[in-house]
């Protein structure tokens, strides 16, 4: 009797051990697969940052910057000024030919490391723009995702509204309830989007930039020295060097070199044809650049007005350069 009980125990234990080992291998495999998925996601995330960085450079060529000249952004004329070829971005004075720099290479306000400031502020030559990317709770001028703010009533008990497309609400609808709220932002960071990715731009030459794309939690700081150079608030983000280094070791960084160019579209007959095509058309209307076949009239409301320029080349760097 004892022998039979022992046999069953051994068989059951053996089967259980076999199943357990298979389950363990399976779980380990899934764990490994999950880790690879995280790396893959980080790789994709960092590549998205290249798009964001190039958009930032293109827009930064024209949108301009806050200066002491005025409270609003001052429009600029490109990283290399299209008027006279000087280093930009520059704005204008009362006359269009006036060149007023929006950059200052002599004023050192940032640091590569500990110690006194040794780097000019953005957008000066040899300066750095560090851009941690996250989603705000509500950006300024946010539009609601509600696609049908004026849905027709389907309740046939009310003859006054049933089946009628009343335009009671603005379409699209603002995300905020008030005009002030619509025009301002709730700058709280959505936690699910925090510390996931960033980009950083180093202005190597007048129109040449080193872009660093990152997916991880370092917020775009190059190293711990730079965190220390940025001051107490930056150090408080990470607490201690070991934690920063841990984040650094877990993130992906990619380096690219790009050259900006002011050229956008060709001033050819096709693009300006409608200036004389019909007497009542807007002379500044241009055919959209993204239609496969244009007819008489522009087909896209957006008209694809790229006012920020294009890129002469994009070059992935195998190793990080000295300055980035």
């Amino acid at each position: 009797m004892k022998t039979r009980q022992g046999t069953i125990l051994i068989i059951v234990a053996g089967l259980s051990a076999l199943l357990a080992s298979m389950a363990l291998v399976f779980l380990a495999r899934q764990r490994s697969s999950q880790q690879e998925t995280i790396w893959f996601e980080q790789d994709v995330q960092s590549r998205i940052m290249l798009v964001a960085a190039c958009s930032y450079i293109a827009e930064g060529a024209r949108i301009g910057y806050d200066t002491a000249i005025g409270a609003e952004h001052i429009e600029a004329y490109g990283w290399v000024d299209v008027r006279d070829g000087s280093v930009g971005p520059n704005t204008r004075g009362s006359r269009g030919s006036q060149v007023i720099p929006l950059h200052d290479e002599t004023r050192l306000v940032e640091s590569w490391g500990r110690g006194s400031a040794d780097r000019p502020g953005w957008p000066a030559l040899k300066s750095v723009a560090r851009c941690p990317m996250h989603v705000l709770e509500r950006p300024p001028f946010a539009i609601s995702l509600n696609a049908t703010p004026n849905a027709m009533a389907t309740d046939d008990s009310d003859d006054a509204t049933y089946g009628r497309p009343y335009l009671k609400n603005p379409d699209p609808s603002p995300q905020a309830d008030t005009l002030t709220g619509f025009m301002t932002a709730n700058r709280d960071i959505r936690q699910s989007s925090a510390s996931r990715s960033w980009f950083r731009v180093y202005r190597e030459g007048p129109a040449i930039f080193i872009i660093t794309c990152g997916a991880g939690g370092t917020l775009g700081y190059r190293d711990w020295d730079e965190v220390q150079g940025a001051g107490a608030n930056a150090m408080a983000e990470f607490g201690e060097q070991a934690y920063f280094n841990s984040l650094r070791n877990q993130e992906i960084r990619l380096w690219y070199r790009v050259e900006w160019d002011p050229g956008i579209a060709t001033a050819e007959v096709h693009n300006i044809k409608n200036a004389w095509n019909s007497g009542n058309e807007d002379h500044y209307v241009s055919y959209s650049m993204n239609t496969s076949n244009s007819s008489i009239n522009p087909r896209s409301q957006a008209q694809c007005r790229n006012l920020g320029g294009t890129f002469r080349y994009i070059q992935r760097l195998r190793v990080p350069p000295t300055w980035w």
Binding site: G85, E204, A207, A265, T266, N290, T310, Q315
Partner: protein, 398 residues
């Protein structure tokens, strides 16, 4: 009487129950094993797809499947022949730089340091934007404002240069033209790297037309040489290949007769980098072709486009029973947009099922890829440190 035994009934019940338990155990084990096998297989396929996507992105960033700097056997796109160079031909072979510090208008060749400032008159296209390829010159002879081969000798009427050609205007004799640099850039780049490189290198707002020496092709022999056809101009010296509807460069859409920019040239057709896996990829003519990818294309057009430009490679050596993974990269331009396309295809040798992921990547351009490579061989890693010298790249003339 020994009572320590089973009755027959007990034995039968015990055996039946035992068999049931064993059957359930075996069945359960088989299900578990099969599930794990299937899950592992799916995990393997996911791993491969993931690795394939990562690999495709890396290839798109470094163009190593079009030109491997470390492997001369994988550099088929660096040659040249009578009609020009290929996408990875060193610029020193097809458009070498000779700077003229005194008069930059007279500089020739590709200068990788040139910034193409919009304010510089050298960058301004000085021609007649409404000039037709048949060259009626009713608005004047613009080749005297800019020409790639000055001086221009204007002797008046020229006849029989092109079909329906008019008599021409002006008898000015020998004319010194003020601008020559940009037209030389346009015409030089036409011959340098193929059509894709031609459009990739010049600024986005380039008007792809220029003024050269007036050239009448000789009477065509039975098989006319390509070079002579390329050099043919209208009466004002504008190369017809760039804007005659239906030429190898101009898609002819709308029968537009005048010079065109990038959007118009590619709204109905594409230029692409021919895959080095194609037999004719080392011939310059292969890289001077347009592909009909617009609204009037047919299956044959698209087949030729895909056959020529898709660079399809197995992922890596893998066990034969594993799913087969292929990574395809492709570089082309369509509707003014440069496309770096990655395609990852997984095919299961057991079930025959095929899974494919296609995506476009925002990544290194052709010029960026050439700047990654040394002029001779190997990589030219960029560094901006003080005193650091970056070796000459494919774009430099050492």
């Amino acid at each position: 009487m020994n009572r320590r035994a089973f009755t027959l009934l007990e034995l039968m019940i015990a055996i039946a129950l035992g068999m049931l338990i064993v059957y359930i155990a075996v069945a359960g084990f088989r299900v578990a094993a099969t599930s794990i096998t299937v899950t592992n297989r799916l995990a393997l396929e996911n791993d491969l797809l993931r690795s394939g996507c990562l690999d495709a992105n890396e290839r798109l960033d470094y163009w190593t499947d079009f030109d491997d700097p470390d492997n001369p056997a994988e550099q088929r796109l660096r040659g040249r022949d009578g009609d020009g160079g290929l996408p990875f031909t060193p610029m020193s072979l097809v458009f070498p730089l000779t700077r003229n510090a005194t008069d930059p208008e007279k500089s020739t060749g590709w200068d990788p340091e040139e910034t193409w400032k919009a304010s510089d008159p050298r960058m301004w296209w000085q021609g007649n934007v409404a000039e037709k390829w048949k060259s009626e010159m009713i608005l004047g002879r613009y080749s005297i404002f800019g020409n790639s081969q000055p001086p221009v000798i204007v002797t008046g009427a020229a006849t029989n240069v092109v079909l329906n050609g008019s008599a021409g205007v002006g008898t000015y004799g020998t004319v010194s033209v003020p601008h020559e640099w940009q037209y030389r850039q346009i015409w030089g780049m036409y011959g340098a790297l193929g059509y894709f490189g031609f459009t990739d290198y010049l600024p986005q707002n380039t008007l792809f037309a220029c003024y050269n020496e007036f050239f009448v092709p000789p009477p065509p022999p039975p098989n006319p040489p390509y070079s002579a056809l390329v050099r043919e101009t209208n009466q004002d010296g504008m190369p017809l290949v760039l804007f005659r509807p239906g030429s190898s460069f101009d898609n002819g859409e709308g029968d537009q007769q005048y010079p065109k920019g990038l959007w118009r040239l590619t709204m109905a057709s594409s230029y692409g980098v021919v895959s080095p896996t194609r037999a004719n990829a080392n011939q310059s003519a292969a890289h001077r072709s347009r592909y009909t990818t617009g609204y009037w294309n047919n299956s044959g057009d698209l087949r030729r486009f895909l056959d020529d430009t898709e660079n399809r490679r197995p992922f890596t050596a893998m066990p034969t029973h594993w799913p087969r993974l292929e990574v395809t990269t492709q570089h082309f331009i369509k509707t003014g947009r440069y496309v770096n396309l990655g395609k990852v295809q997984l095919s299961d040798p057991i079930s025959g099922a095929v899974t494919e992921i296609v995506f476009s990547s925002f990544s290194t351009t052709l010029r960026g890829a050439r700047l990654q490579r040394r002029h001779d061989r190997g990589w030219a890693d960029h560094d901006n440190g003080t005193g650091v010298t970056v070796p000459p790249t494919l774009d430099h003339t050492p």
